[in-house]
Homo-oligomer: 406 residues x 2
């Protein structure tokens, strides 16, 4: 090994890189990833839901049928038969799309990143929910967007606030490039926009000539009889860019998601993707294709919706039992997350050390607010732990919270 | 489906997106991808070299041992045991690296993109070879770099030209962020920098305080007794960022490559990667890990080096036999590509239609020059076709060229 020479890297970095910081969640994980701790922290589906035996059979079949072709480069836009299967899948949800209106990405995260890269110049405005998904806001930050938060109520976005914030940005001479929303079972809050709120949101967006970027990773994890309608299915095709993935229904390690959007936008995204990573994983895309063709998606939905619903019920019942008055939380009708709000003045970050000492972990809420606030909030997932462990974890958390309130 | 509304997308795009164009190679492929054509065009390894049966056994073993864990999210930086195996692999090539100095990317293309994103502000200068790899230049273009070409001779970079171009850019007040080179068996030219030329390049870079980005996808495909030393193995650890991949030795559909670089730079790249795609394919990384652990890389090298060498020999012999005087070409000592130069005044793009009519295809050379020139050059790969087909293809190409010269 060779001698180390001091280099002033800060000087060499791009201005985007100088603004990059490790995510707050990542910094937290050093604290909370301890053996024996009950964790409500991770943003991951439960591996119990992954159909491993089916994947095994699918892989055998792929290798037997396709051999070496399974290991060659694939097209940037995605495997042609997968694109076609995704169009059928989207059409069944009321989102018919032409061939030019669909593209596969390596995780929805890549879709968010590419959307940001082709739309945002430094200083351009992106409107986001308060709170909003931290993976999205980090992608927008990497593109040096100015992010402006819009209040999220129990049934959807505060549209007066949306109009106010949009008006103020526009009046200041800034370009508002899009509104980013996760209307169904949002990460982090578990909140869903009601159908009426969706209609009103689309009307407001039309009136403001505002492009909507709809992120829908959890839409299939609905706990009631019917799924919520997507914004894309309620809008004109140029009004909404729709992103979803198979990470929560099948498995996130198979990095396969998709974007539906206007042809002109996807043409640019395809070029951006070509220089970003050339193409996705051939094997991952072939596995997802086989799952779509073989009906495994529907089987999985039928299997995992009750699985997560039961866990949500356990968490909500435990919270009702263990939390003192003054503490409130969302009652998500799908997805993986409950959002808990402590009495004003209590700080979830300050509480975390005590919680970890008590043997329970969560993610603090403030990092999900792009423009401050939320210090008294936290995200709890019911995905990871089993029912008795969720009960015990909430019991521990209740003790910690009562210790601060009492 | 809904009514189509006209939107002025050009106005909405970022300035980076407005500068994005489909690659020249991609535009060519519409012309050249015809059934029955002999193709020297693709930039892909031959699927004949993919160890499919070994991959099958490895996959069975992964699923049996690791089950659901194989399908969960993995760390942004890469699977921990893979990072460790890659460090051993690099150390065996004289490139010892600390844990903080290595990161897995989804293809070297992603490494190039991330390096560009964390180092380049719009208008910053990147020095590249003339010709240079088009995937890299497209990533640098997406970051809005100003690319400046440096002449590439038969044994390496023209260092006087390097100093001139660097001096002129610096004198004009621009920041030169790095020099990008593919020193071994370059795509597109097949040219390698000699060991002496490498030493001189590193000296010049040191003198200019110029970071070197070394792209080495073909280094293991050497046709002579010994591989060429990498720049990284000859330099201080802060002087060279090294990228390589397993695409050519194992299979490109398994999107797994790596970057070795200074800790400070990789820390930023890791953050950029997190917002770019969160993490790579769990299955792909596990397969590559098993290949590294099981010695399959060395087996593959021993198998495919003679495979490609024999094909190169066939192409070089056929060119010697079929090409009229005034035509010259490189004699690559590794890799997948031969670079052919027509007499001054002949245009490879203008010739392509006649070649396709004759039943043979290639990639025109001009798009590999960032600042013009190279109209009379073309890239020929010997990777795709078998020996008799290479001979027949060169015969056809010879007829087309002679038709223009005679």
């Amino acid at each position: 090994m060779t001698e180390k020479v001091a280099t002033n890297w800060e000087q060499r970095f791009s201005s985007a890189a100088r603004g990059m910081r490790f995510s707050a969640i990542r910094r937290m994980s050093a604290l909370i990833e301890k053996p024996g701790i009950i964790s409500f922290a991770p943003g991951q589906p439960s591996p119990d839901t992954f159909p491993v035996d089916r994947f095994r059979a699918i892989l055998e079949d792929i290798l037997a049928r396709e051999g070496a072709a399974s290991f060659q480069y694939i097209l940037t836009r995605g495997l042609a038969p997968l694109l076609s299967a995704v169009r059928d899948y989207a059409a069944a949800k009321g989102m018919a799309a032409a061939a030019e209106e669909v593209l596969i990405t390596e995780g929805s995260q890549q879709g968010l990143d590419l959307v940001a890269r082709v739309l945002i110049d430094p200083g351009d405005v992106v409107l986001v929910e308060r709170p909003s998904y931290i993976g999205a806001t980090s992608a927008f930050r990497a593109a040096q967007a100015r992010m402006v938060g819009v209040r999220l109520g129990p049934d959807g976005l505060d549209l007066d606030h949306l109009r106010d914030r949009h008006g103020a940005e526009t009046a200041a001479g800034r370009r508002v490039k899009f509104l980013y929303v996760t209307p169904s079972f949002q990460n982090p809050s578990g909140i869903s926009h009601s159908p009426a709120s969706r209609r009103a949101l689309l009307e407001a967006a039309r009136e403001l000539d505002l492009l909507v970027v709809e992120d829908d990773p959890y839409g299939d994890l609905y706990f009631e009889a019917e799924p919520l309608p997507t914004l894309r299915s309620m809008a004109r095709e140029t009004e909404v860019v729709y992103l979803s993935s198979f990470s929560k229904i099948l498995a996130p390690g198979l990095r396969t998601a998709f974007v539906l959007g206007p042809e002109e936008l996807l043409a640019k995204i395809e070029i951006a993707k070509q220089s970003a990573n050339l193409c996705g994983s051939s094997l991952d895309q072939r596995i997802i294709l086989a799952c779509l063709r073989g009906g495994l998606i529907e089987e999985q939905k039928a299997r995992i919706r009750p699985y997560y619903r039961a866990k949500r019920d356990v968490m909500l019942e435990a919270l009702a039992k263990e939390m003192p008055s003054g503490v409130s939380w969302t009652r998500p009708r799908g997805g993986l997350f409950v959002w808990l709000t402590l009495p004003e003045g209590l700080d979830a970050a300050a509480l975390l050390e005590a919680a970890v000492a008590e043997g329970v972990a969560y993610v603090t809420g403030a990092p999900f607010y792009v423009d401050g606030g939320g210090e008294n909030t936290m995200r709890l997932t019911f995905a990871k732990e089993d029912a008795p462990t969720i009960e015990e974890g909430v019991r521990r958390l209740g003790r910690v919270v009562r210790g601060r309130i009492g």
